[in-house]
Symmetry: C2
Subunit: 218 residues, 2 copies
Amino acid sequence: MPHSSESDPHGFKRRGLLFVLSSPSGAGKSTIARKLLAAEAALDMSVSATTRAPRPGEVDGKDYHFVDLERFRAMVADNAFLEWAHVFDHRYGTPRAPVEALLAAGRDVLFDIDWQGAQQLHQIAGGDVVRVFILPPSMEELRQRLVSRATDSVEIINARMARAANEVSHWDSYDYVLVNDDVETCFQQVRTIFHAERLKRSRQTGLIGFIRSMMKTG
Amino acid sequence: MPHSSESDPHGFKRRGLLFVLSSPSGAGKSTIARKLLAAEAALDMSVSATTRAPRPGEVDGKDYHFVDLERFRAMVADNAFLEWAHVFDHRYGTPRAPVEALLAAGRDVLFDIDWQGAQQLHQIAGGDVVRVFILPPSMEELRQRLVSRATDSVEIINARMARAANEVSHWDSYDYVLVNDDVETCFQQVRTIFHAERLKRSRQTGLIGFIRSMMKTG
């Protein structure tokens, strides 16, 4: 994938991160993603495309790109997705062009995708991808959170719980696994991981030049 | 290596870290190691054995285990070192037994060793080892720091500078590389790395039980 150039405090370039947050629906991922985006100036969200209808309050182009099935299929045919999948009766995908543009501009990119998406992204982008899984404190607590959102029917909640169990079963394909007992603690852990990953030697592409000039003047 | 059991806030076990800090002499590593040990209750220092004489103020068993050449050779013969090396006219080694005891007790262990030691440790302990390299802001600055310590002759400072250049040339065998412009910033970066590495899925050995019991009750 094309990469560029954001400068760190020392002024050298580094490779951008593809930072994946996954969790069962209701485990608090959206809150944490929102807080992380607010806190990190060099981080942007990847906005997925979906064939499902908008929920009340969702904004096209911000929460999702809402597209019809025909358009989605055309994008698949055009290789316009980095990853895509069927979930229940709908399709979800990560449009390729915006992610490549962000990385080329030296930004980090945040992904709210499931384990299948994380796996596909990792196949494409390897060590540039960091995968974080957020667990609810318990399945009872998760059900409680879904019930108290009051947006879904019992059938949908049951389907979400079955899907949550499936998601959780893939915990071992993630680099980091956190338990969201307390949203502020969990957010700080996510932020710590994000900061540490930015310090990885393999991302500090500008270090080579810094060290070369250091050795010349030593 | 034997591992146990320290509990995290959620009460599950995790594998201990072997956390290596390397840097050229004078780049600020000792200060950062001291601050990290003071801040992290579950972290202990690995005390190296050496055949060199104590410097003023150095305490046997705390700064180093000061041993004679015969004793050092006997320890090598007994396989009592995790790693050891010649540096200038002296030998330095990491005694195996204390490290194994700390890991078995569920502690993390901090190592102040050079790139050769880090490489040997990584060969033994693989992914349990996290290697952090601290660069001085420049070679001029490094020389200045060595001169202002006023403990070494010009010849020794020149030898240290040559050795520093050699150490820096191995920067790409580390997981993380930091520049110590400001000791407090650099310390916070080291601490961030330490905290993030503790959240790695591969170290959270107790997660399996947590997730199993979660799935049963879901």
